[in-house]
Amino acid sequence: MHGDMTGLAGDQTLRLRLEALFTDYVHVIDGDQLEDWPEFFTDNGRYRITTRENFERGLPLSVIYCDGQGMMRDRISAMRKANVFDPQTYCHTTSAVQVLGHEDGETQVQSNFTVIRTMNDGAMSVFACGRYLDRISENAGALKFAERIVVIDSRRIDTLLVIPL
């Protein structure tokens, strides 16, 4: 991918493409089109949510850990068919996109996010904020996450976490 992305024009093109990817990602989640969520990843892509404490101390535990699209689809089907929770929606705000580098055909990017959660009864709260740490590759002309690590700033999760961040 980065072969096309050298120079100022390439850099600006990459930024526009990343912005489009991140925008599409949050609208799929916030718009409850979660069956499409795994498609943002490569087939064997990894998605995990961890806390800043675990991440900075090198502790391997995740709050959610999906190794491959299959586990991501299982997350969504369990949410639809098995898990019990108060109806809720997210509104993501993303910002501060920073390209960290290119390696092995992948681009490393970090960005910030905030998720406001709204419950069925109208209660709203800042549910999570933190950083996305991404490895992004290009497959058949589309950008895909080879890995998306969601590092949430707080170790404390209110009640439960069922919709991906």
């Binding site: 949510i49 961890t50 806390t51 404490e53 675990n54 502790l59 391997p60 535990l61 995740s62 709050v63 959610i64 850990y65 999906c66 190794d67 491959g68 299959g70 586990m71 689809r73 299982d74 089907s77 369990a78 068919k81 098995a82 898990n83 019990v84 929770f85 108060d86 170790r155 404390r156 999760i157 209110d158 009640t159 439960l160 976490l161 069922v162």
Partner: protein, 416 residues
Amino acid sequence: MSGGAAMGNDPGFTWPDDDISRVPYQVYTDAEIYAREQENVFQGPTWNFLCLEAELANPGDYKTTYIGEAPIIVTRDEDGGFNGLVNRCAHKGAMVCYTPRGNTRHLTCVYHNWSYDLRGNLAAVAFSKGVGGQGGLAGDFKKAEHGLQRLRIETYRGLIFGSFSNATPAFVDYMGPELLASIDRVLIKPLKVLGYHSQMLPNNWKLYAENTRDSYHASLLHVFHNTFGIVRPNMGGGVQISANGWHHRSYAERVPAGDAEIDKEQVRSLKDQYSLEDPSLMQHVEELGDTVTNSIQTVFPSLVIQQILNALAVRQLVPRGPDRSELFWTILGFEDDDEALLELRLKANNLVGPAGFVSMEDGCAGGLVQRGAAADRLARTVMPMGGRAIEPSVGSRVTEAAVRGFWKGWRECMGI
């Protein structure tokens, strides 16, 4: 140290009768009852989990935690001993330690620089002799009388417990032989922390304490559990309850069957042919010498020791007011885990925690009761499943006996 049961303020409450299968809703909502619990349950004749020995590997290591509302510091001193100290400066009551963990030689309060050693003894007071011959400590002030309040400490299988009360029996007697053996079964080797998180529960702490003892709900609320064969009503297992009723263990074991049958159960639903596309998170290496898939053990009042497949954890329950509580998860492996077993544990941990396939509902169920209870504090629950007594159960987990045991323990501590 306080003397144990029935010493608190009058909560203006008596249990309506001797029936522990019917719980008045006000115990989940009343501020007076909550305040009395601090003294009589958490600071009463109970052992409260503090942290793991593995988290305090070196002299000078400390970690902060809670027993009920009380902030606690756990330290490892120069001799390797563990100390439990109330995190409250003898001077003005400020929290001495406001960082979650670290390594230090002294515990120094930032407010006026009063400094304690790792055993909680007051070592130095700033300007104790005054300045330029003026001021200084009152002549009758004795440093030896103004240390940090010390807890009793016991360790068992790498777990560190603290107690405020001299009335608490030794930990082995507190648990009894049967439930001690079930701790031995899980914590077989030196432990390693894989990570932490906590879950804020929208309910009184006792609703979660009941939930963990309620083996009746497991296959009903947690559809995932039933669907993928971790716990089904028809699996082997049972409910063990300590002689005094306070502690319990509920477990399920895989009924011996052909491998093909087990494989089928792991990935297929009995209810709606629901299948996992990637069942790798359900792999189970039987590392504890038996076929138990699920073992949930409680230590009254606030600890859960969990084995679900290869997902091992301790969960510490901390009350945060009458209608909120925080559940601290410490996710465990063993020091000698190889990479494959670590990966297995990390995948299996998708089952538990605030985003766990089989435990996220516990965060929601207590909140439903809390909201229901608020409407009528004098009404009562009814828990007749498995009778009215506190009897262990072999084969069946469809019982509320361990929940009734919890209420027996709670009433004994509270003196009501």
